[in-house]
């Protein structure tokens, strides 16, 4: 098991980087959301790998909390996306820029 840990961490880093890239380059808010989820789960993977490595519980518990936070975040986010869609707008993050100065 132990020899797999570097692999898990590499996978986690790769997932995180892909997620970050997705957040920055994609324009569909749904895809952006999925990218954020990818990043969160990359974080979870790293947390659990280290928890397993050190035989402590903190990482696993923290991963559970991250999952809960991710769920709440999706609830709010999807509600926003639905609200935008209902107002008849195109779903494009670059179009949604009224908040600029």
């Amino acid at each position: 098991m132990t020899e797999l840990f570097p692999g898990f961490l590499t996978l986690s880093a790769a997932m995180f980087a892909l997620g970050a890239l997705g957040v920055m380059v994609r324009r569909n808010p749904l895809v952006v959301f999925m990218s954020i989820e990818l990043m969160l789960n990359a974080g979870n993977l790293a947390l659990i790998t280290y928890a397993r490595y050190t035989h402590t519980m903190a990482g696993q518990v923290f991963a559970l909390i991250v999952i809960a936070v991710a769920a709440s975040e999706v609830v709010v986010g999807l509600a926003l996306i639905t609200a935008v869609y209902r107002s008849g707008r195109r779903l494009d993050v670059d179009d949604l820029s009224e908040m600029r100065e």
């Binding site: 098991m1 132990t2 970050a20 957040v23 920055m24 380059v25 952006v32 490595y53 050190t54 035989h55 402590t56 519980m57 696993q60 993050v93 670059d94 949604l96 820029s97 009224e98 908040m99 600029r100 100065e101």
Partner: protein, 667 residues
């Protein structure tokens, strides 16, 4: 016992109602009605079949070997780790395990068997309700939660089941959410349950934190069998929960009983049960008579090793039980709502069970639970037939003369009433007399407790036959009562089956080859609950039996004299002892007491905070924050481009810079 077979059967028992709930809930009524009708009761009856197979399998074992633990999955397991890693801190795990032993199987039989009959009955009772599928979804959820509660062999899952039961009960009491009274009753039940949950959870924490194994080390376990094996005083000084001079284990016993009292509607957490009658009648039969309210009895019977170490806590349990039994029986004599009479009767009968498990007569308490589940579900369902026939009329003053038009329902209700009053050869007679006489030998105060118990029985047969005479005999009081007609077969068959059970299940406890009235049932439960520590001599038991039976019959005769022959005026008590009548009619004023001592001070406190703190402190705080933010925003807004990717880029670049700086400093 074949472990794989047991595993599969336990999974079926738990899984079927869960599946029923999920399907009914997720399809949100899109399924054809016929499918819902088959699915709702079907899963519960399937569960019942699996339980019966488990029972047969259990009975095939030697008595001592009855009981096996099934691990569904491993969870939070810290005891195994690869060699060479860091040292595992403890042997903690929270595996999802179920325990299949006589006590659990008895509870499962009642939950799925009686529950299944009530589901079938609901097909008729709820037929015209727009929330047909929602009703079955909640009912299946309740069955799942209750099964989880009684099967779990792990404190964590027991508490999960315990709380899910409270939620399902809330959802079902407040099922008719358009009625403000139903919603208020559901909320009251849930709040009361949560108070009890706090007690249970604190008790569980104390067990977890303080239990020591035979080598004196803290165990930190949530596994029930490990807890029970180590809870007693052992060879080692620091064993079990003893080192704090018994105070700790007493505290645990009291905290657990707080949970049990909330579930089982015992004083001081009893006020929710009568209000819960706002729910549909099958709900009252399933939850507030047969299963959920007996969870407290189960909890104390299951945790009896702890109560055996804590005589003070057990004494409190017994005293509260018998006190609640007497109080509820007195209240039951003056109520006019047919369901409320039966609800107070439930509270009273459960008080007797709690008394039994408090004095250590665990199998007597469980036997009373078993017979009570049969005849009380019967009474509720028969009352449901009456209510249905009278278009939701629940007041016995508006009934009368129903025995001629609803012959079968009347017969069933009569069987239930006879069983409840403890008339010989009906189920209640066996369990009640065993319950009361098994407590006789246990201490100097017990004869007095027996006297109270017998008075409860007298009152019980009085109030239930008061209902029989006022609702079913005499002249119809209203035109609706005069035109009532018998219920449809789908509602009648479960009632008649339950009537059959209420008439015969008492014989389960008879050893036909000896005098002792108590053997078969307690022998079945003996591997879990042990044998009672002491028992009265046969002579005293026989005497107690005869006196108790005669007095119960006396209560029946009194009801007949008052409401049947009318030789005694019904208002005798209200004229001669108005305070007693008012005390009973107003339910001992507990609702008013709680209103004055708890509800109003809380509301007043909230109002005071709103008046005093809100405008002067919180509003200013919020205003100040608003102004601060506005000022700051004026300065910062030039950074806002409105493009999401810019923000993300800034964020990531900063994060990378931060990480690099951190890495350099660490390196």
């Amino acid at each position: 016992m074949n472990p794989t077979f047991t595993l599969v059967l336990s999974a079926v028992v738990l899984g079927l109602p869960t599946a029923g709930f999920l399907i009914n809930a997720l399809t949100a009524g899109k399924l054809p009605r016929r499918v819902i009708t088959l699915l709702g009761p079907g899963v519960v009856l399937g569960s019942f079949v699996a339980t019966v197979i488990l029972l047969v399998e259990l009975l095939a074992q030697r008595a001592a070997a009855r009981g096996s633990t099934v691990v569904f999955w491993h969870w939070l397991n810290l005891s195994v780790g690869p060699a060479g890693g860091a040292v595992a801190r403890s042997g903690f795990n929270a595996n999802f395990t179920v325990r299949i032993d006589p006590l659990a199987v008895l509870m499962m039989l009642v939950i799925t068997g009686i529950g299944g009959l009530i589901h079938v009955y609901s097909v008729g009772y709820m037929a015209e309700d727009p929330g047909y599928n929602r009703f079955f979804a909640y009912m299946n959820l309740f069955i799942t939660s209750m099964l989880l509660l009684v099967m779990s062999d792990n404190l964590i899952f027991l508490i999960i089941g315990w709380s899910m039961v409270a939620f399902a009960s809330y959802a079902l009491i407040a099922f008719w959410y358009q009625r403000p009274a139903a919603v208020a009753a559901g909320r009251k039940a849930f709040v009361t349950q949560v108070i009890g949950d706090v007690g249970l959870v604190l008790g569980a924490f104390l067990i977890f934190l303080n239990l020591r194994g035979s080598n004196g080390h803290l165990l930190h376990t949530v596994d029930l069998q490990t807890i029970f094996a180590n809870v007693g005083p052992g060879a080692h000084f620091h064993n079990g929960l003893g080192p704090m001079g018994g105070g700790l284990v007493t505290l645990i016993g009291i905290l657990l009983f707080l949970g049990a009292a909330a579930k089982s509607a015992q004083w001081p957490l009893h006020t929710w049960l009568p209000d819960a009658m706002e729910g549909p009648t099958p709900v009252s039969a399933l939850i507030h008579a047969a299963t959920m309210v007996t969870a407290g009895v189960y909890l104390i019977a299951r945790f009896h090793p702890i109560y055996q170490q804590a005589p003070v806590a057990a004494g409190i349990v017994a005293a509260v039980g018998i006190g609640t039994a007497l109080m509820a029986a007195i209240i039951g004599c003056t109520q006019f709502d047919i369901k409320r009479v039966i609800a107070y009767s439930t509270m009273s009968q459960i008080g007797l069970m709690i008394f039994a498990v408090g004095v250590g007569a665990y199998s007597a308490g469980m036997f009373q639970f078993f017979t009570h589940a049969c005849f009380k579900a019967l009474l509720f369902l028969a009352a449901g037939n009456v209510i249905h026939a009278l278009q939701d009329e629940q007041d016995i003053r508006s009934m009368g003369g129903l025995s001629t038009r609803m012959k079968l329902t009347f017969g069933a209700f009569l069987v239930g009433a006879l069983a409840l009053s403890g008339i010989p050869l009906f189920a209640g007679w066996f369990s009640k007399e065993e319950l009361l006489s098994s407590g006789l030998a246990l201490g100097p105060a017990v004869p007095w407790l027996w006297v109270i118990g017998v008075s409860v029985n007298v009152l019980t047969s009085f109030y239930i036959f008061r209902v029989v005479w006022r609702a079913f005999r005499g002249q119809p009081a209203t035109s609706r009562a005069a035109t009532a007609h018998e219920a449809q077969p789908v509602m009648l068959v479960p009632v008649l089956l339950l009537a059959l059970l209420a008439a015969v299940v008492g014989f389960l406890n008879i050893d036909f080859f000896g005098f002792h009235p108590v053997t078969v049932f307690s022998a079945f439960l003996q591997p879990v609950l042990g044998t009672p520590a002491a028992r009265a001599s046969d002579g005293i038991q026989a005497l107690a039996l005869v006196i108790g039976t005669v007095l119960s019959g006396g209560g029946l005769a009194l009801a007949w004299a008052v409401y049947g022959r009318k030789v005694i005026a019904p208002d005798l008590i209200s004229r001669r002892l108005p305070w007693l009548y008012q005390l009973s009619l107003q339910k001992f004023y507990w609702d008013q007491i709680y209103d004055v001592t708890l509800v109003r001070p809380t509301l007043a406190c909230a109002a005071a905070v709103r008046e005093a703190l809100e405008p002067r402190f919180f509003d200013r705080l919020v205003d100040g924050v608003k102004e601060g933010v506005t000022t700051l925003a004026d300065d910062l807004r030039t950074m806002q481009t409105g493009f999401f990717r810019d923000y993300a880029l800034i964020f990531f670049v900063c994060a990378v810079i931060g990480l690099v700086v951190l890495g350099l400093r660490l390196a």
